[in-house]
């Protein structure tokens, strides 16, 4: 094994790593993909909806062949309070027809992607943990796993949000707690017919909820619910700086309380727990971007901090796939020029910045700051509910004009005008 030199070693068989390895092998490079999970996907958790148009640019058969759960035709944004909720409920036939947003379970999807890699000639090595990078001077020349060494002209770090590769290469620091969140998720098995009735969707279609407010007991983060074919994925995402700061906060208890909220529990009734899991999510947005290349190394996917939370949508897998594409195109070029230096690989960063993924990271660069406001996680939801309460509760007192009602609800709320103006301004600029 020591003597063989590959063109590329991809560390990590998630969406980013698999797409990158596939594209390089399809262009004739000798590629090995190392995955620490015994089976592909076994260390991975989906965090939500996969906006999957990008996959069809790599795999034209993606929509027909890949193990997709449901096409999301209904999106709900829910402000959840202890005894009330206000929800924006958006359903659209155009969403159902375009198949552009789907739910996936990673154990199935990642297996499919890895099968595609093998068909394209990638040498896949599952069940192997990469322990460290091998250097020759400043250059990364391979990886060490146990007693084995594997050498290549370039290493692709696709090893996820905790990327030890990128950290040990010294090009990326460990993210700070405010740049990370922990997702705690349950997969609850439920009959497909029940899912379709309960979520008001047609056969094969699904719904996705983004929830803010009491689902995180006011901590920065949110709840999510989305439908799979015969299960529901549900859970919370809690920002780590908030989890650290509040001594009452238990990550598992916040998850359990969310599932037990009457408005949420009714969605799960009669279901059986299939899996309980957790995973970190990068929440820092563009500010986390930093350097993504070194001599003999490129960083892609979650390892590069490529996730986006806008409040409405949470994205990662589409950005991961696009970063894999940009890296593969760059590395195929680098192989032809025999230049894997940081200067040569900088073309990857340029490609990424010019792609929808890089552009969206910049467009939404203000989103983390906007979502930082604690008012997002309590006061606004309560204000909305108080306003609607005055509209729909007729208690034999004479009605007032809506403006008066709103003013009364506003006076009850702890919100201050200056903060709201600041939040709205940030929101308008961020989104």
């Amino acid at each position: 094994m020591e003597d063989e030199i590959f063109d590329a070693i991809v560390v990590g068989g998630g969406v980013a790593g698999a797409v990158c390895a596939y594209k390089m092998a399809a262009s004739g490079l000798e590629v090995v993909l190392i995955e620490r999970g015994e089976t592909p996907g076994s260390k991975n958790l989906s965090g939500g909806v996969f906006y999957c148009d990008v996959m069809s640019t790599v795999f034209p058969e993606f929509l027909e062949e890949a193990p997709l759960e449901r096409v999301i035709s209904r999106n709900c944004l829910m402000f959840l309070n202890d005894d009330s909720h206000v929800m924006i409920d958006y359903a659209d036939r155009r969403l159902a027809g375009s198949s552009n947003a789907v739910t996936v379970l990673r154990a199935k999807l990642d297996q499919w992607l890895i099968d595609k890699c093998e068909e394209a000639g990638v040498m896949v090595m599952p069940g192997i943990r990469v322990d460290e990078l091998i250097r020759d001077g400043d250059r990364i020349v391979g990886v060490k796993a146990g007693d084995d060494e594997l050498r290549a002209r370039v290493v692709v770090a696709a090893d996820g949000v905790n990327s030890f590769c990128a950290r040990s290469a010294g090009i990326r620091r460990a993210p700070t707690p405010d740049q990370l969140a922990v997702g705690v998720k349950s997969v609850i098995g439920l009959d497909p017919k029940v899912i379709e009735e309960r979520f008001g969707v047609n056969e094969g279609e699904g719904a996705a909820y983004a929830v803010v407010g009491s689902c995180t007991r006011g901590l920065g983060g949110g709840g999510f619910v989305y439908t799979n074919t015969d299960s529901i994925s549900i859970g919370v995402v809690i920002r780590l700086d908030e989890l650290k700061a509040h001594s009452w906060a238990s990550s598992s208890q916040i998850h359990d309380d969310f599932l037990a909220h009457p408005e949420i529990a009714r969605l799960l009734e009669g279901g059986t727990l299939r899996e309980y899991g957790c995973h970190l999510v990068a929440e820092g947005g563009h500010a986390m971007r930093g350097t993504l290349v070194a001599d003999g190394l490129v960083v892609i996917g979650d390892a590069a901090g490529l996730t986006l939370n806008t409040g409405f949508t949470v994205r990662g897998m589409d950005l991961a796939a696009q970063s894999g594409i940009c890296a593969a195109e760059t590395l195929v070029e680098a192989a032809a020029n025999d230049d894997f230096s940081a200067a040569g690989l900088a073309a990857y960063e340029r490609r990424l910045d010019e792609s929808f993924a890089g552009r969206d990271m910049i467009t939404y660069a203000g989103a983390p700051d906007f979502l930082e406001s604690p008012r997002m996680y309590g006061a606004y939801g309560q204000l909305a509910a108080d306003l609607f309460f005055t509209i729909y509760r007729h208690d034999l007192t004479p009605r007032r004009h809506l403006v008066g009602q709103a003013r009364a609800a506003w006076r009850k709320s702890p919100l201050r005008l200056r903060d709201v103006v600041s939040d709205v301004w940030k929101g308008v600029r961020a989104l």
């Binding site: 076994s42 379970l105 905790n162 780590l240 598992s252 208890q253 599932l259 970190l280």
Partner: protein
């Protein structure tokens, strides 16, 4: 803690598939440091998998076999408090749904 209709965390984890590396714990806690810094309840509450249990002496017991490998403790605890790696090749959590 209030009870959940989905069982205790430990009961839930019993449904998951793990390959336990009996010989090599992938988490090693410096309990002297944890005691001095008063971190036991902190470890207990942040971990979604309840890997850490506060002991009477101020340290923590570590049930590393239950770890879901998220990295929350590594990201939040002071560097002196623990050594945390992914489990060795082929070991640890094996999600079947994801």
């Amino acid at each position: 803690m209030s009870s959940s209709p989905w069982g205790t965390v430990t009961e839930r984890l019993a449904r998951n598939r793990y390959t336990v590396d009996e010989a090599h714990p992938h988490i090693v806690v410096n309990n002297d440091y944890v005691r001095r810094a008063g971190l036991a309840s902190f470890f207990e509450r942040i971990c979604p998998a309840h890997v850490y249990t506060a002991r009477d002496d101020g340290g923590v017991d570590v049930e590393y076999a239950a770890c879901l490998e998220c990295g929350t403790c590594l990201a939040l605890a002071p560097a002196q408090a623990l050594v945390w790696h992914y489990p060795r090749s082929g070991c640890g959590i094996g999600y079947r749904e994801g």
